[in-house]
Symmetry: C2
Subunit: 391 residues, 2 copies
């Protein structure tokens, strides 16, 4: 196991009706004036925004509002948010929504106290200071409610880049599984896929002797395999949604990823797809993961065989471990299709002729040096080959 530090100071309030405490928590964590940041109309239609406003009012907290966050959140709205916070004297960001809204709020939070262009932080500059952020989560997926990460899409060129800093970890996150019951089965499945990807990205490691984190990752994958189909079949299943919601947080606050090298090649390959086609991140990952894993499997057959046996319930073929490894990847692909996810470029709305551009952007976009450096080092040619497996 490698040396590491781990710090996850977010206060979590989990369960039914917990959004009613938003005002009290914002006050407890230092708010004097709040920006309610949200996405489209669903938070308004469902009455959630009204409940949040009521809660702030009860806590005697004034607020401003900024809606309109899109999936794959854009830099343009971040610039507007920074300006609005400065004009209004906002000192606390309250994100009401999913990963996109939370990531957008984190970007605004970092931008407000910074003199330069906030995009500097998404081009490698470390974040040292940010306004405090609180979240009310409405989809279990990105894990941004407990993570130091934020991913934003730059409109000029439509490319996605991420950043991370302990300063971006939410002060509090309110997780009410009932708020996710209005999601469509497709949105729910995209969230499930994103959580599974966060687990696989950590599972694919080159660090030896990491039994504890291996086992924790497997535990969360087993949870997703058990609860995913239950919630797709019955969207009102509160208990299944609750298990998925906590698994989604634990999958990405890094308690299961400490002390080991991680992969993240699948995320990099996917980011180019959702940036170019504006597809859902989870749907992109469903197409990317089986292709990447098939391509890199030989790098460590036993790791994939371990996942196949421990997670997917495959029988170990001791004479041919590669068959077991392959069976596990096959089981992952079938699982993702079974919950309604796409499995190829066509279903995703991606085009074969764009592959050279996608691979080039992966390896050379935004100042990259020519390859991806995850579980396996992938050249531009490797990326092309992997994208071709998705056609």
């Amino acid at each position: 196991m490698n040396n590491f530090t781990f710090y996850s100071p977010t206060f979590f309030a989990f369960g039914k009706d917990t959004e009613k405490e938003a005002g009290a928590y914002a006050r407890r964590f230092g708010a004097h004036k709040v920006l309610i940041h949200y996405g489209g109309g669903s938070a308004a239609r469902s009455g959630l925004l009204d409940r949040v406003r009521d809660s702030l009012e009860q806590a005697s907290l004034p607020w401003a509002e900024l809606g309109g966050v899109q999936p794959n959140p854009r830099s343009g709205l971040v610039y507007r948010g920074i300006e609005l916070c400065r004009e209004e004297g906002v000192d606390f960001l309250l994100a009401v929504g999913g990963g996109s809204t939370i990531d957008s709020a984190k970007a605004i939070a970092a931008g407000v106290p910074y003199q330069g262009d906030f995009w500097d932080f998404y081009s490698g500059k470390p974040i040292e200071k940010a306004l405090p952020v609180g979240t009310i989560l409405t989809i279990a997926a990105a894990g941004s409610e407990g993570s130091p990460d934020s991913v934003i899409t730059k409109e000029e060129g439509m490319f996605k880049r991420g950043t991370g800093s302990d300063a971006l970890r939410p002060k509090f996150s309110i997780l009410n599984p009932a708020l996710t019951q209005t999601l469509s089965p497709y949105q729910t499945a995209c969230g499930i896929t994103d959580i599974i990807a966060h687990l696989y990205e950590r599972y694919l490691t080159n660090t030896q002797e990491v039994e504890v984190t291996d086992r924790l990752i497997e535990a969360l994958l087993l949870t997703m395999i058990h609860e995913g189909p239950r919630v797709i079949q019955d969207p009102d299943n509160y208990e299944a949604r609750a298990n998925i919601m906590w698994a989604g947080m634990m999958a990405h606050n890094n308690s299961c990823g400490v002390g080991r090298s991680q992969d993240w090649n699948s995320h990099e390959l996917e980011h180019e797809l959702s940036a170019l086609y504006d597809c859902a991140h989870g749907a992109g990952l469903a197409v990317v993961m089986p292709a990447v894993f098939t391509y890199v499997m030989e790098h460590n057959v036993m790791r994939f065989a371990q996942a196949a046996v421990r997670v997917w319930g495959c029988h170990m073929d001791f004479a041919h471990p590669e068959e077991t490894a392959r069976a596990g990847i096959g089981a992952l692909g079938r699982f993702l299709r079974s919950i309604g996810m796409p499995s190829n470029f066509r279903e995703l709305g991606a085009k074969e002729e764009d592959i050279p551009q996608l691979a080039r952007q992966c390896c050379f976009g935004n100042g990259r040096s020519g390859c991806l450096n995850g579980f396996v080092k992938l050249s531009q040619e490797d990326c092309q080959n992997i994208y071709r497996l998705m056609v």
Copy 2:
């Protein structure tokens, strides 16, 4: 799943040589004058105390020292520590040791800013304020490095009582697995047993639909079963110790216990044993757990069968699930004996004739109302029956 809040703001620095950063972390988390609190001579003999002093000196932090913490830490030393901190103007507690030292430091931390008797907190009064605590852990066991809990033994009457408060969660904890390599196999095994008990106490729940926390607990149990024998066989196995050390923290910071009722009857029954005979807490738990589980198994046979299959690798007997449940408890008992733990009163140094007193103290000691209220409600008679199973 039940509603819950979860808050684990401790900063963890994990790995080789991390104790050299103690001074820098103490300063970062607000120290101006430190009390180094430690146990017996091993921290001095190993050179650890000198490295800690060097680190504080490098951070220009003055300090006082108070050693002499015993296993099952005593109230007497806590009173002395409180007095010393007040005299010396200490504003930060640095515990260098295991759970006993950390628990003693937490008690001092709560006592210094309190006008009354610190024992009030161990008799039910909530803790609202405490000096900040940092820890340098030297044994993976109690989980106190990431928990809000503290257990102290009152010398008058020799009984143990616990308390918990977010104010007692350490600001930082330094976990260097190499520091645990000097422990005897017996001490190491006691720690392993304590960790396993923290997991079982959470696993035995009456809450339905808790797949994610079930799976996480199972993951940590599987880790202990894999790594425990490796470290007993080879005390210098850094990797096995590292996996155990992170599992020990995760087992008790409650990320795996949220949203579910928990048991803690085994701990209550054990506390009376270690209070009366001053035996090691882990050794007591090794004797207590199989007896309790056998006694309460019928309350939920399927829960014990699930542990047997998923954790202990037993085959499910679908016609006779109680046989599978029993096989799992048997496997736990054999495992604990295999790492050198006692399995009965005689090996523990406990006496059959004390059973009425032990059961009475369990149910009526320190203002209790006549029973234990964990997974199963246990009367004084039940407690006697369970103690008898240990003879």
